[in-house]
Subunit: 248 residues, 2 copies
Amino acid sequence: MGTEQLGSARERGGRDLASAVEWVAVDWGTSNLRAWGLDSSGEIAFSRSSPDGMSRLTREQYPSVLTGLLTEVHEPLDVLICGMAGARQGWLEAPYLDAPADLRTLSRGAVTPDMPGAQFVPSILPGVCQREIGAEDVMRGEETQLLGLSALIPGFSGLAIMPGTHSKWAILEGTTLKRFSSAMTGEIFELLRTHSVLRHSMGGELDGEERDIGFDAGLALGLERPERLTATLFKVRAGALLSGRSPA
Amino acid sequence: MGTEQLGSARERGGRDLASAVEWVAVDWGTSNLRAWGLDSSGEIAFSRSSPDGMSRLTREQYPSVLTGLLTEVHEPLDVLICGMAGARQGWLEAPYLDAPADLRTLSRGAVTPDMPGAQFVPSILPGVCQREIGAEDVMRGEETQLLGLSALIPGFSGLAIMPGTHSKWAILEGTTLKRFSSAMTGEIFELLRTHSVLRHSMGGELDGEERDIGFDAGLALGLERPERLTATLFKVRAGALLSGRSPA
């Protein structure tokens, strides 16, 4: 369970970390665990990340993983957690709020898991769900990021698109999450890249100029003929075969 | 390299197989090898199948696999092969015909691989490709099935949809394959079923009444909002979570 140190107040300025940090924010996702120590002005005093996401952990491992991640903190601190740690198969279930939801009420739905010792007082924030038949959807973690967006841009109303394994398309009105839809964009890309016949055509330089050209072409095709996705994808394979870039 | 016996003339009627069979038709695909012995009236005298598809074979293994599949045949016979055996990484490359293509010319593009002994004389039929930029496509095997369709329904003009790993949607006019498009329907279904987060929701009874209901609902949704495919798919997961059918 290795941790990666992204930076620390101690390194950056030699401040006394324990007194500078007021609370710790944690995004505990399926694949990754990220933590930020925040000082009294809301600035990031340190940050940590590790691959100890929910998918690798049993319920009993969460306290020791959290303690192991925050070894430099010695004062009692509140730890506010969002993400899959609050799923039913996570640390402790934090039942979903129903959309539309005023995100300022997220903290009211927080649950408090058992934590040995008095150093950390963890709370896990709920996710948001949408129960309407035919529009069923769930998020855990993004709702907290959306609350952050509403604080960064007060009064923002509109569509927020959050790329990822399951990309969230969310309609936000101020602090209210009106409705949202998850697209399996990231997961399907990864499956096609690693497991499908298209993997034979994905061995080239991924960061060259052609990447931008290809991305733009894909966006244009997707907007023009979105209903043809499963056929457009096969052109990647056929184009490579016919141009001789790949064995046929 | 086991073979499965689907039936034989010997079993069915006690005829002398060697004299009944005039030639052998073979569909040699990526994952499977299928062979049919045909008598002078075009009836199937025997059939064989094995999992020795192209993906399992080196170029050198094809002759012995074919001989091993046709152990009951002792007379010299023509063996007409379609499918991935004619791909560049197959037995011997049979270069694509270009669409639009009159499928009656398929045999002119056949290639003759080396075959030790005089018992079998194999020919591999070409596939068909479409080189137009933005509509690049390839098929190997389906073109031969389409020629069969044009023989079964003389004068047929219209769309033929051939389900599979890479489903082919082909416009046929008599014996002419005008144009076609491959959709990754089967491969994407298999990836989602076995590797994606949706696999957690696919453990139920697959052959019950609900299967037909779900299939009809999926068809209706796909026709109504085809552009929402990647989002509609996630409803499978979210619906299971919210109904309590799956751990969250």
